[in-house]
Amino acid sequence: MTTTVSRPGAKRAAIAARTLRTDRWWLAPLITFAGLSAWVLYATVRVFMHKWYYVPDFHYLTPFYSPCLTDRCVEGSAEFGTPLPSFWLIPEAAFTLPFLLLFRLTCYYYRKAYYRAFWLSPPACAVPDAHAKYTGETRFPLVFQNLHRYAFYAATIISVINTWDAIRSFGTGFGLGNVILTANVVMLWAYTLSCHSCRHIAGGRLKHFSKHPVRYRFWTFVSKLNARHMLLAWVTLGTLALTDFYVMALAAGWWPDLRFIS
C-alpha cells in the first residue's frame, strides 16, 4: 500500500493579511444584502397592511394575498372560503406565505446569497468567514435546509393558485394589470421549475438516462432553466413586488388601470 508524504506539525504560510484580494469583493454581498433587505421590508409591510390588495372591477388580486382566507377579505377576493379569523398578526394568505418563505429560504441560490451577504460565511471567496466555528448544514437548525424539496412541492401548488388568479382577471377585459399579473406568473413558473430539487426529481436522480427518454428530455429542459436560477430568483422578486405595487396603486386609487379591451 502506498502512502503519501505527511509532515506532521507542518504549518500554513504565515501571511498576516486576512485577505490579499484587491478587487471590490465586498460589492456583490453588499448589493445582495441591500436588495434582499429592501424586499423583505417591503413584503412585511405589505403583508401586514391588510388593505389595498384587491381590485374588484378587474379581479386583480396581489400574489401577497393569494389565496385570501381571513374573515376580513373584501368581497370577491376570497376564492377558497374564509376559514381564518381577522387577527392582525394573521396574513390573508396565511396558508401559503409560510411555504413560499420556506421555499425561498431553503433555495440553493438564496442560501448562497444570504450565507455570503448576511452570515458572512464567507462574505466572498478567499475572504475569511466571520465565525470561529463552523459546522455547515450538518446540525439543527440548518440541517432542515434539506426540506427544500417539500417546499418545492408546495410552491408548485401555490403557482397553480397564482395562475388561476391571473386567468380569472381576464374575465372582465384586458388591461395593463393583466399583462403584469401574467408576466409575474410566467416568471414564477420559470423560477419554480428551475429549482435544483425539481431538476433532481425530473431526472437528475436517475442513473440511466437512456432508459428514461422522456424524463431525460424534461431534465435537459429544467437544466437549461436551472442555469439561470439566480437570475430568475431576482427577477421574480422584482415581478412580485411590481405586481403587488401595481395592484396596491389601483386599489388605493392612485391611478386608473390602463385598459386595452374593456
Partner: protein
Amino acid sequence: MSRHFRVWRGDSSGGEIRDYDVDVNDGEVVLDIIHRIQATQAPDLACRWNCKAGKCGSCSMEINGKPRLGCMTRMSTFEESETVTITPLRAFPVIRDLVTDVSFNYTKARETPAFSPPEGLAPGEYRMQQIDVERSQEFRKCIECFLCQNTCHVVRDHEENKEAFSGPRSFIRAAELDMHPLDARSDRKEYAQAHQGLGYCNITKCCSEVCPEHIKITDNAIIPLKERVVDRRYDPLVWLGRKIFRRDQLAEAPQVGAGPDAHLDVGEMLSTQSGGPSPFGDDQTFPLTEITYQHPAPGSPSRDS
C-alpha cells in the same frame, strides 16, 4: 517595462512578503514572471510547475488574494501600475515559498470508494451509452489543481474540519461514481453524507468560481449529491415507501481492494500493468493480432462520399 511584484518567501517556520521589480513582456503570464524572478533575482525561489498550459494543475497559487493557476493568469489582466501579490495556497501547510503540501487531497482521494463494476463483468466487457456517461465526463475534466479545496472556507478558515470534510474535489469524484451507469455500489450517498462531510458544504459556490476547467462543481455535483442524500435520509415519503416495500436492506456492494482501515490501495501498485485495467481487457497484448478494422484499398471510394 518593469512592474512591481510581491512574493511570499519562507517556510513552515515563518516568512514574509518580499518586493521584486521585474520586466514584463507582452503576452506573458504570472508563471513567466516567477521564472524571471528565479532567473534574475532569486534563484532559490521555490515554485511547483509542469505544463504551463493549464492542464497539469501544478502551479496553483494565490494571485492578488485569489486562488489561480499561475500559467493561466495573463499579465494583461492587471493594470500596468498595479502591484501583483503572489502567495502560496493558504489552506495547506507550506513547504517553501510557493510550494505547499497538498497531501490532504490525496488522503481524501484514497478514502473515496473506488469504481466498483457489477459482479461478473470483466474489463473489456463494459458497455455504456454516451447519454448515460456524459454527466460524469464533465467531472473527468478535473486537473487536480486543488484550487477548489484551497478556496473552500470549510477547511480554509477552519483547520479542524479537515478530518470530517473531504472537499469539492472529492465530491465531484463521489458524484461521478454515483452517476456512473456501471457502478454497482449503492451506498455512495450515505458515504458522502457520513464520511465525506457533504453536510458541511453551504453551497456558497467558491469552488465553482475558481475552477480553471469551469466544472460546475456546485450545480452539477454537490447539489445533485445533496439531493440524492435527501432521497435516502431526509425524505419521509421515500423512507415510508422503503419500509413498506422492504427495500430498506440495501445490497452490500463488494469493497473492492479495501484494506482493513477501509482505505483503498492505489491501483497501479497492485496491477501487473501501470495505469489500471485496460479498456480493451487485460488479456490483450499489443500489437493486436486480430485487427478489427480494414484499411481501405487505395483509390476505393470513401464511405462518406
